[in-house]
């Protein structure tokens, strides 16, 4: 469809990303034919974009060091290390006794292995080629590498949707879009790093399959889907969006043999492949989230069957009756099947996460553990602006162009864009899923606009451009000096608009670079702050604490902390934790939440029953670090209270207000978390001119300065007090 592009089009496209290149190549390689020139340009632009996408993500390495970021990536890193050391079968059957003590976790069966296997394959390949890199470097650079690959996919997708120009613009936009960079900087070794690549690849291959009706593309798309399933739980989005898309095509009367082949092949093979992933397994045919795909699959067969019957019958009236009977009975059978399946428990109901996607308020009321995660919060407008910048305005324009030229492919991208944008509004982290769609649709807008404008300039304003671009065109252009009345205005308008577009795009590039450098490159395990003289201060307390644990505690010591730090403790401290970021057991987390929000002697019994040796808390009162355990404390109370009704949230609040100063509730002032965070804090002067015990994170003087610990003792506090570790004492000898 949009594959045939004239040279002029790509020329205009090429001017945008690197104007220099254009002139450079056009002068140097005059001998090349226009087609070849265009190809060369396209390849060089893609090559540059590929590199750009990679290096833009290296800010974090430059600013900090080559390290794994945040929380989940530490788990991924640990498992990758295990995979490269022990091999695939050990990894597949790995039972981890170091986390979720004493329950343990079957890691092989509860993760998406795609990321680890990818990194291990890269690692083994590099080793085979005699590059002796450390696995950590591979893990750190996996995300940028896959972001680069995503730009290529975006190019091909754009080409499939619109034309090569749109593809190139899409590649550039997605290469530096902050919404994507936020999760794919070097060191952000998370599932999403490869999953977005897999997601876009699957969509591209599916659209290609629908466009061509080729079994081969459908098969490729099934394998893309398999890779996506192996990499991220977000594959549910694919398996719901694709059937929805098919349904829309069916309803709008765009049913075709191409669609039939593409969807059936992709669904059946994709399903069989997906079931090979242990974590998914039979969920793919049994859980509520996957039922839509199956329903559409069956509907497709009914459609095909009806088509066949219609062809056989050759009698409209008879067919109408037949149609009525068939459709009614099909719906009836389907309804009964779903009803019976749900009632008998064969079809599992929708999970909480799925519900909270459809209903943004669901998690808040029912599943505090989902609502407690900051990246699961509804998105603020500012973060849309932050992550998309001009794309936010270009997106509707792109939609307009899509609707103007409605094809099977553009219908797909419109649906992808609209649904994912809705989900992005529900949860902050899902901005990531919407980013490729937003980039593609915006690219269509940019590409189409520039193409229109340049064609205006080209056909009617050749005079002004003869000298600069092509010597060959000058004689032709000068012969056509038939000016319309509207021409000067059109010309000026077009130029002004072009300048405007370039201005916008350059602002976008500047914004993206700034956001990447300032906001999205922080590893969050090492904190940076500006000192009084504008110098950069690094707080490396987390690693200090984890290495302390590694060096100074017994190898089988059990560490209790809030679940956020579980992965880091096991990966860096190499110690057993009670709960971690894989929040699979709500009761266990609630037990820890209960211990943290109980009085010390009650908490001591809980800790004894869990064989806890050390308790780790994160405290930002000295540094003003706001995402510490005191600020997370209400969630501990809520999650603990959700399972153990003895913990009641109002006990910790005063008039519905959460405070830690003198006006705080007595239960708050004496619960374990408060004691552990503020132990000996009353002696410390944190800020000049403030009383001792002034909490800089909350800006108040604490209410309980005289904290005595009975069953615990301070074992270690990091240099900036961010991490505090306490040892649980054995029971008294004589009591």
């Amino acid at each position: 469809m949009g594959g045939k592009s004239e040279p002029a089009k790509s020329e205009s496209m090429a001017t945008k990303p690197d104007l220099l290149n254009t002139s450079f190549f056009s002068f140097k390689s005059l001998k090349l034919k226009t087609k070849q020139q265009e190809l060369l340009l396209r390849i060089s632009i893609l090559g540059l974009v590929y590199i750009l996408a990679f290096i833009a993500r290296l800010f974090s390495v430059l600013r900090y060091e080559s390290m794994i970021h945040e929380f989940d990536p530490y788990f991924n890193y640990r498992t990758t290390l295990f995979l490269t050391e022990k091999g695939f079968y050990e990894f597949w059957n790995w039972f981890d006794s170091e986390s979720w003590y004493p329950l343990g976790r079957i890691i092989g069966g509860t993760l998406y292995p795609g990321l680890m296997v990818t990194a291990a394959l890269i690692y083994w390949t590099l080793r085979f080629l005699r590059f002796f890199v450390h696995i950590r470097e591979v893990c750190v650079l996996t995300a940028p590498f896959f972001a680069s690959n995503t730009t290529l996919v975006a190019y091909f997708f754009g080409k499939e949707l619109w034309d090569t120009g749109a593809g190139l613009v899409a590649a550039v936009l997605i290469a530096i879009c902050p919404g994507y960079i936020s999760r794919s900087v070097a060191g952000s070794y998370d599932n999403e790093a490869v999953a977005i690549f897999a997601l876009l690849l699957t969509f591209y291959l599916f659209v290609k399959a629908v466009n061509t009706g080729s079994l081969a593309w459908a098969l490729a798309s099934a394998f893309g889907y398999f890779y996506m399933v192996s990499a991220w739980g977000g594959y549910v989005f694919i398996i719901n969006l694709v059937p929805l898309y098919v349904l829309v095509l069916l309803i709008t009367g765009r049913y075709s043999m191409r669609l039939y082949i593409a969807y059936n092949c992709m669904y059946i093979l994709g399903m069989l492949l997906a079931m090979q992933i242990r974590f998914v397994g039979f969920q793919h045919v049994q859980s509520g989230e996957h039922m839509g795909a199956m329903g559409v699959f069956l509907l497709m067969q009914v459609f095909y069957f009806l088509d066949w019957v219609k062809y056989q019958l050759n009698d409209t009236k008879l067919f109408q009756t037949f149609l009525r009977i068939t459709v009614t009975s099909a719906i009836l059978v389907g309804g009964v099947a779903v009803g019976v399946g749900t009632a008998s428990g064969y079809i599992s109901p929708w999970t909480g996460r799925f519900y909270s996607l459809l209903d943004p308020t669901y998690a808040k009321d029912h599943i505090p553990i989902i609502a407690s995660v900051s990246e699961h919060q509804p998105t603020a407008w500012s973060s849309f602006m932050f992550d998309y910048h001009i794309l936010l305005f270009l997106f509707p324009a792109g939609l307009y162009f899509c609707f103007k030229r409605l094809t099977d492919a553009t219908i797909f991208i419109v649906m992808y864009g609209l649904t994912s944008l809705y989900f992005a509004g529900v949860m902050v982290r899902l901005i990531l899923v919407a980013t490729p769609a937003v980039c593609l649709i915006s690219a269509i807008a940019v590409s189409a606009t520039i193409k229109n404008l340049t064609s205006l300039l080209r056909t009617k304003q050749k005079v002004s451009q003869t000298g600069s671009t092509k010597g060959a065109g000058s004689s032709k252009a000068s012969s056509k000096v038939t000016l319309d009345q509207s021409q000067p205005f059109q010309k000026n308008g077009a130029i002004a608009l072009l300048v405007g577009v370039f201005y916008l795009l350059s602002r976008y590039a500047i914004h993206c670079t700034w956001v990447t450098a300032e906001a999205y490159s922080s590893p969050s395990i090492v904190l940076a702050a500006r000192g009084a003289h504008g110098n950069r201060i690094i707080f490396d307390d987390y690693r200090e604490a984890y290495y302390w644990l590694r060096q100074n505690t017994a190898t089988d010591a059990k560490i209790m902390s809030w679940w956020d730090y579980g992965y880091q403790i096991t990966a860096m401290g190499n110690r057993t934790v009670i709960v971690d970021n894989n929040t699979w057991n709500n009761t266990h987390i609630a037990t820890v939440g209960r211990a943290m929000s109980s009085y010390e002697d009650e908490a001591y019994d809980i800790m004894r029953s869990l064989d806890v040796n050390y308790v780790l808390v994160v405290f930002g009162g000295v540094t003003g670090y706001s995402s510490d355990d005191i600020n997370k404390f209400l969630w501990m109370v809520r999650i603990g209270g959700g399972v153990f009704p003895v913990i009641k949230e109002p006990d910790y609040l005063v008039n519905g207000e959460f405070r830690v100063d003198k006006g705080a509730s007595p239960k708050m002032l004496n619960c374990l978390m408060y004691k552990l965070c503020y132990y000996r804090f009353g002696e410390l002067t944190t800020e000049y001119g403030k009383p001792p015990g002034y909490d800089r994170a909350r800006g108040v003087e604490i209410g309980n300065k005289d904290i005595k610990l009975e069953h615990l003792e301070e074992a270690y506090t990091t240099s900036n007090w961010i991490v505090r570790i306490y040892r649980v004492k054995p029971p008294t000898n004589r009591l």
Binding site: Y89, W92, N93, F95, S97, Y101, P102, L103, G104, I106, D556, T576, S609, L610, P730, P731, T732, N733, R734, L735
Partner: protein, 437 residues
């Protein structure tokens, strides 16, 4: 006597490097005992008790309680294995000793005999409180019993008690039954109800009460009846043993030698039960009896000998542990039919009584439950009088590996059949469709 004790102290000083090994896991009986007296005349008035100790091989080091050179440890090493405090009226201990250092002495696994008496000092009360018993707060009060007093009580105020309510434990009080009542004159104490390590060895009769015998009762007594303990023992979590007696006279030659007849009882005894009581009690408190030791927990799969790093669910395993009892001279196999092992993860999934081969080896075998997780083998043996055994060993239990499931199960044959018929059917269909004209 003085010279002897001094030379003993001197010798013990020379032999210190050697002796510091005397109290060890291999030989738990105490050897060096410090005796703190508030009056050196107690040495002769309580000589029978001290001589029984000496004859059993203890080195007694007599010191005045306010001796300024008093020290329990030197250079971080304890000089004594046991401590006898017969100084009820001492307000302050000499040297660097105080109630905290006595508590630390117990917490280091060493033993203590503490005897109070009427008008016991705050120091003694403090030490007793640390060990879980509270003496009657009224410093003039004594135990009075108008029904089970000794008829030899000449004063007539019924403070010389003939007590026969002894704890029923062969381990604490020896196999030979103490026939004669034990004579007691002193202060009452009660056990701290929150402390479950302390227990009464000699209790008062239900008719006893604690009051000042020389004054009239103005208010009901604080402590009455069998809530009153006369002699208590406490075994700490680290198996340090403590005897607390409310009467110093209990150990005295006078009461040991005196005959006894309980009021209202026709039985008259030539000699009170005191000697047997204090001797047996001192054997227990100084670990000559009732001290158990366990070897490490041994476990392996049935048919193997090496301990695995991890078990699989439904593995059959064998578990064994060796337990020995100290006889005072050597380690003898411990024989009992109530030692249990738990296979524990937050709660015991398996609880089995171990069978013994009478040579000290306790063993059993069981199947790992169908639950994965980090389990512990736990042997928690707490038996009256015996030292506590609390052993645990962590072992993870993993689920089946992907290739450990049964391969061809009969129930799956319909599926195999369906699979192959579909394949065959498709082949036939294709063939017919393509070549049938």
């Amino acid at each position: 006597m003085m010279n002897l004790s001094r030379s003993v102290a001197l010798i013990s000083l020379f032999l210190l490097p050697l002796l510091s090994f005397s109290f060890s896991v291999d030989n738990p009986t105490d050897r060096r005992v410090l005796v703190l007296l508030d009056d050196l005349s107690l040495k002769s008035s309580h000589s029978i008790f001290f001589n029984t100790l000496k004859s059993r091989g203890f080195d007694l080091d007599f010191k005045l309680a306010d001796d300024s050179k008093l020290a329990l440890q030197r250079y971080g090493q304890y000089l004594y294995d046991g401590l006898i405090i017969f100084a009820p009226s001492t307000e302050r201990l000499g040297g660097s000793l105080d109630s905290k250092s006595i508590a630390d002495f117990v917490d280091s696994g060493r033993d203590l005999i503490l005897s109070a008496d009427t008008s016991a000092s705050d120091l003694i009360r403090g030490i007793a409180t640390e060990c879980g018993v509270d003496f009657d707060e009224d410093s003039t009060a004594m135990v009075i019993d108008h029904t089970s007093f000794s008829v030899s009580d000449v004063d007539g105020d019924h403070t010389l008690i003939a007590a026969d309510d002894l704890v029923k434990s062969d381990v604490i009080l020896g196999k030979t039954k103490i026939e004669a009542p034990v004579l007691f004159r002193g202060v009452a104490h009660s056990l701290n109800p929150t402390n479950n390590l302390v227990l009464k060895v000699l209790s008062a009769s239900p008719s006893a009460y604690s009051a000042n015998p020389s004054s009239k009762l103005s208010s009901p007594p604080q402590l009455t009846g069998s809530a009153i303990s006369l002699v208590s023992v406490m075994q700490a979590r680290n198996n340090a043993r403590v005897v607390i007696s409310g009467s110093l006279q209990l150990f005295s030659d006078r009461l040991i030698r005196s005959g006894v007849q309980k009021a209202g009882s026709p039985n008259q005894y030539e000699k009170s039960g005191n000697e047997q009581f204090v001797t047996e009690l001192s054997k227990w408190v100084f670990h000559e009896r009732g001290h158990l030791k366990a070897g490490s927990l041994v476990h392996h799969r049935v048919g193997e000998t090496d301990e695995p790093a991890i078990y699989r669910i439904k593995d059959d395993l064998e578990f064994s542990v060796e337990i020995y009892e100290w006889s005072g001279k050597s380690w003898e196999p411990y024989v009992a039919n109530d030692v249990q092992v738990q296979f524990y993860m937050m709660s015991p999934y398996v609880l089995k009584t171990l069978s013994t081969d009478k040579k000290g080896l306790f063993h059993t075998s069981f199947k790992v439950p169908d639950v994965y997780g980090v389990f512990q083998f736990k042997v928690e043996y707490e038996k009256l009088g015996y030292s506590t055994l609390s052993l645990s060993k962590q072992i993870p239990v993993r689920p089946y590996r992907h290739n450990e499931y049964e391969r061809f199960i009969p129930t799956a044959y319909p599926y195999y059949g369906a699979c192959f018929t579909t394949m065959a059917g498709f082949f036939v269909f294709s063939f017919v469709y393509l070549y049938h004209k």
